[in-house]
């Protein structure tokens, strides 16, 4: 703690210390009250007696100063600091064991004083509501505009990144607006309206079957890695440069396309063969997306069917997975080669798929108004919506649109500014459609659209509907939810419960998994580092996408079946495909389709801590750090985030030359008492996770690039060497010992309430877009209490969050 804006004067007076203040910080002087006097007379002396020796102005331990702390609980920074003090003192962690213990009465005096002040401060805050007015973040904005206009265009790309706070990017206090953002909104709105409004005839439906043998790449390649068969093309290599781009398919209209691929595995010893399909422009360096990995069985032609949204002038591309390197096949020649391959018989494409024209998004705006010819320079076919009674139509259409955009009923009066704008444009000679576009655009950049507006106190049904749908769908309420809100029934617990169930069962609930789990467990950072290929030659793209998918599916499984949240720490099953099972050393999982797999006893897997995804995002591409992983576990799983490292203490420099382990480097650290205070908590889970490398593989020894013995796998010498042995054992701060991760998991399971508390807090932050503070802790405890009786079921927890006061009040 070093800077508490706003209390500087008081601090100067109390501590007699010069204090740098930011130029922009507001000056606020707390009025002395009886509470402040109590603080000065009874509380501060206790801190002076027991704490200031370490936490004073001179080299404060943990960079935490108590000499400047004061009694203005209205200031959130001060409030947070008091919360930290309370937590540490209550837990008996401070003062540390090595110091004289304060009297019980002294501890009681301090904790009850802090507690009562925290509650008072919270009451004041609650009168305003704990959730500050928040704007849609870029994900929510993208989803909302897409749903509102019935389009599939990627709008997120057009907006700057949001700054996350308290672990999530939907926390209102950190979601700012700037003129730059407003400018981007205007641009995104143009893109969205252009995509939604149909200015041409219905695109011609393409329906065609293609033959990969006709692809140019097959004709020109000099490597003998393909075999032209009577029934199709056999592909024998997974080398990336032999990916087959289906150049024959090059649509001129964007839209959703249906693909059917007939294929089978050949010479694969009865095993299925997998392949990847990508979509995108397929030009060098452009952004393409993985559509999916698919399996086809051996020797039995099988049709794979999927749809995908593609921009105009895109292709799809196919590449078998897990087959031989091209050089190897080429040496033998595809005709004689007897290793496994993929035969693709044909690829069928149908699209763009439009059930109606103009599309639903267009009609959502303009209803059934007719279109008339409106040719321009380079498009003689162009049409525009026309109206015989433009002003009346504009009023009707804007009204209907605004209700959906604002996610609540709107009055005629509220429409007036937008209608006025349209009328003004009509007066300037704009066509009806052009004038309407200006009005629509204004609605889409208005605060009523961009912000989730909530009044202090109990949420009205519409605010509640929005909170619910942004929590579970990251988008606006659908018609049914709005309808229930309009009937005034959403506030009823049974109706709210039923709607929650409905939303959770809807495919849109995928957003909950992706956005909540993606941030809670950091999965969004999966690409932040690329593993060193000399140390981790086995790492590939399928492994990466499979890692993330496992964690997503695992969360969804717990949520769907209301399984205990303790499964996040330890579980006897997971969801795996062949690639991941191979990575984990679990036999009997063929093909890349994910399925529920019961884990063998000695697998060391089960729960998110030992998932490859989590192990990867908590490491860099080269080395693991028990400190990083340990703090991560404390923060994300145990809900006890460690204090940040003190200023000026350098991080341990990783050394992969094989001579020294991280543990040896850290040992020095832990001998210093002030370091040990935190590291005794942090390092233990970190050491247990040392059994896993940077891509989440099990290891008995570190891999080294300097010293060590050679490593052979399947008769091949690996580019890395066998480094020092891993020692995953350690001791928890309370003295409980563990030998490895399996034992640690069991120890963590002993305090199920704490696991529940940690997850509840995370969920509550994400669900409401506001941090969990002192006054919310009672509610958190109430929820923990409730779900304890329900065996900590995850679905039950989500319901409990939604039914809680915190969720139903601003």
């Amino acid at each position: 703690m070093t800077r508490i804006p706003g209390l500087v004067l008081l601090c100067l007076f109390l501590a007699g210390l010069a204090h740098a203040q930011t130029p922009d910080a507001p000056m606020k002087v707390a009025k002395p009250s009886s509470e402040d006097r109590l603080f000065e007379s009874d509380i501060r002396p206790l801190f002076t007696k027991h704490c200031l020796a370490c936490h004073g102005a001179d080299k404060p331990k943990g960079d935490f100063r108590l000499d400047k702390l004061n009694a203005d609980f209205g200031d959130t920074a001060t409030l947070d600091h008091w919360q930290r003090v309370l937590k540490r003192v209550r837990a008996g962690e401070m003062p540390p064991q090595s110091r004289p213990r304060p009297e019980k009465t002294e501890i009681e005096a301090v904790t009850s004083w802090i507690q009562s002040r925290l509650e008072l401060a919270e009451k004041a805050r609650l009168a305003e509501g704990r959730v500050v007015l928040r704007r849609l973040n870029r994900v929510e904005y993208g989803n909302t505009v897409r749903d509102l206009l019935g389009i599939e265009v990627d709008l997120e790309e057009l907006l700057p990144l949001d700054t996350p706070a308290h672990g999530f990017d939907n926390v209102g206090e950190a979601l700012h607006v700037s003129s730059f953002l407003m400018e981007r909104y205007l641009e995104a709105t143009d893109v969205a309206l252009n995509a939604a409004i149909a200015n041409g005839p219905k695109p011609v439906l393409l329906k065609k079957r293609y033959d990969l043998r006709d692809e140019r790449h097959i004709k020109v390649t000099t490597e003998k890695v393909f075999r032209k068969q009577d029934d199709g093309l056999a592909m024998f290599t997974s080398s990336a440069w032999h990916q087959i781009v289906l150049t024959q398919f090059y649509p001129k209209d964007r839209g959703r396309y249906r693909f059917r691929i007939s294929a089978y595995g050949t010479q694969s010893a009865g095993k299925p063969v997998s392949f990847r399909v990508m979509g995108g422009p397929m030009l060098m360096g452009t952004k393409n997306h993985i559509i999916d990995y698919f399996d086809v069985p051996a020797d039995k032609p099988t049709v794979i069917e999927f749809t995908d949204y593609l921009e105009a002038r895109s292709h799809i591309a196919l590449l078998p997975y897990g087959l031989q390197h091209a050089n190897h096949v080429n040496k033998i020649g595809a005709d004689k080669y007897d290793g496994p391959g993929l035969v693709v018989q044909w690829v069928e494409v149908e699209g763009p798929l439009h059930d109606t024209w103009p599309p639903p998004g267009h009609r959502g705006i303009f209803g059934d108004l007719p279109q008339g010819k409106a040719p321009v320079r380079d498009d003689s076919q162009r049409v525009e919506v026309a109206s015989k009674t433009p002003e009346e139509d504009a009023q009707k259409l804007l009204h209907r649109f605004a209700r959906r955009a604002f996610r609540r009923p709107v009055t005629e009066k509220e429409i007036q500014p937008y209608l006025g704008l349209v009328k003004n444009r009509l007066g300037k000679g704009y066509s009806f459609e052009k004038a309407m576009r200006v009005g629509l655009k204004a609605i889409l950049v208005s605060p009523e659209f961009l912000f989730l507006k909530e009044r202090p106190g109990k949420l009205d049904d519409f605010a509640l509907a929005s909170r619910l749908s942004y929590f579970l769908w990251s988008t606006m309420p659908d018609e049914e939810l709005l309808f229930v809100a309009e009937k005034g029934e959403l506030g009823r617990p049974d109706v709210l419960r039923a709607q929650t169930e409905r939303l959770l069962k809807d495919p849109r609930a995928k957003a909950f998994t992706v956005n909540f789990v993606g941030q809670w467990l950091n999965l969004r950072e999966i690409d932040a580092t690329a593993p060193d290929f000399r140390l981790y030659p086995e790492y590939d793209e399928l492994l990466k996408v499979s890692m993330v998918k496992e964690t997503h599916l695992f969360f969804e499984e717990l949520l769907r079946d209301n399984l205990s949240l303790t499964n996040f720490v330890s579980s006897d099953f997971s969801l795996l495909n062949n690639r991941l099972a191979k990575h984990y050393g679990i036999p009997g999982v063929d093909g890349q389709v994910f399925r529920k797999v019961m884990l063998p006893k000695n697998s060391h897997r089960g729960g998110v801590l030992t998932m490859a995804s989590v192990l990867k995002v908590t490491a860099n591409g080269t080395s693991t750090s028990p400190v990083m992983r340990g703090s991560w576990v404390l923060d994300r799983i145990l809900g006890k985030p460690p204090l940040p490292p003190p200023a000026g203490v350098p991080a341990v420099e990783p050394d992969i030359r094989g001579a020294v382990t991280m543990r040896q480097q850290l040992a020095k650290h832990r001998q210093v008492e002030s370091c040990a205070a935190c590291h005794v908590h942090i390092d233990a889970p970190g050491f247990a996770l040392e059994s896993f490398d940077v891509i989440g593989g099990w290891r008995e020894n570190y891999r080294s690039l300097g010293k060590g013995e050679p490593v052979m796998i399947d008769g091949k010498r690996m580019p890395y060497l066998k480094g020092p042995r891993v020692d995953p054992s350690d001791v928890l701060p309370d003295g409980r010992k563990f030998r490895d991760i399996d034992e640690l998991k069991n120890l963590l399971l002993e305090d199920k309430d704490q696991l529940a508390r940690a997850l509840t807090q995370r969920l509550l932050i994400y669900a409401t877009g506001a941090p969990v503070r002192a006054a919310d802790h009672k509610q958190v405890e109430a929820i923990v209490e409730k779900i304890r009786g329900e065996e900590y079921g995850l679905r039950f927890l989500v319901h409990s969050i939604i039914q809680s006061e915190a969720f139903r009040n601003k």
Partner: protein
Amino acid sequence: MTLTRRGFLKAGAVSLALPWLEALAPATPGAPAGPPRRMVCICTPLGLHAPHFFPANRGRDYTLTPYLEILREHQNEFTVISGLSHPEVESGHDSIFSFLTAAPHPERRAGFRNSISLDQFAAEHLGERTRFPSLQLSHEGFTLSWTRTGAVVPADTSPARVFARLFLDGRPDEVQAQVRRLQDNQSILDTVSEQAGTLRKGLGSGDRGKLDEYFSSVRELERRMVRAEEWVVRPRPRVEVPQPRDIPSSADLIGRTRLLFELTHLALQTDSTRLVTILMGGTSLVPPIAGVSLDHHNLSHHGQDPDKLNQLMRVEQETLRVLNDLLGRLRNTREEGETLLDRTMVFFGSNLGNGNSHSCRNLPVLLAGGGFRHGQHLAFDPASPLPLCNLYLSMLQRLGIEVDRFGSSTGTLTGL
């Protein structure tokens, strides 16, 4: 004949530098007088290997290090500075948030709030003078620039697009459409801002703060659009180089950086802007550089592995070569008898002092140009580091802005 930029450039034919034209600049009250001063801030986000960068000895007669050797021809036009860091910005990549702002504790994330960046602070004083108040360029899309309220100022990644915005005039009908769009947008902003009064009613102070931020953003954008409308009908300066083609591969650290640097030079010499920030790449991809087989981020976590250190050196040496080219271009461009480099501060550094450990102490810092007395190694004690903002304050004052404090500054940088 009315004086237009294009007219002038044509008249000057091959003249590269555009003299600063007081007549064209809208006068801003309180804006500094004198010759135009410019500032380019460049960050390489994975650090620079310190032993290859910092000289061992201080003062004017320091020995060039492997990296500084590359800049030898400019040795008297830059100062290398050691021992600077941002107080209260701790280890980690998140320090990038605070590189030009010095906002405390980005690494804690919770409760972090950014503050105005050096360039945007300067733009508040100088921005009105040029077509673009500032340019934000970036290899991957993240930004160095932040507003006063801590909102992102988005960065451009496409040199081709930026070039078009700077130098290509549309067809008359396109210009007309652009004017119409700006007018529509102004009316739209006008319409929403009229609702401020009704919306604020009944809100708590926190909510009101949020809404006020929205409305002030709307008003600021309106103002910017009014100015954009003036500029849009004014022909853009013409340059004698073709529009660059974007490099699609984000692995190509050096190629992309070169394009951004060349664009920066063009933007400055045509006085299209005076403030540029450039966030270079730091990807998990292998840059196409001879002798480099591992990705850049990975190399920065070298773990003392000699091979990695060697590859890292190659990457960073190439980076310094591109910087050397930029300094050369600026020096070879003249404006009113001075070199453009004399009027342009080029600040080059990193938010990481040590990529291997993520440390944010002893940041690599180099300041070139801007008319300072260069040619030395200013060495401050890393054990009691001086705030990097002291340098920032010196830079702001050099821009002619009357200010005595920025971020965590405790004064200007002594010895510069």
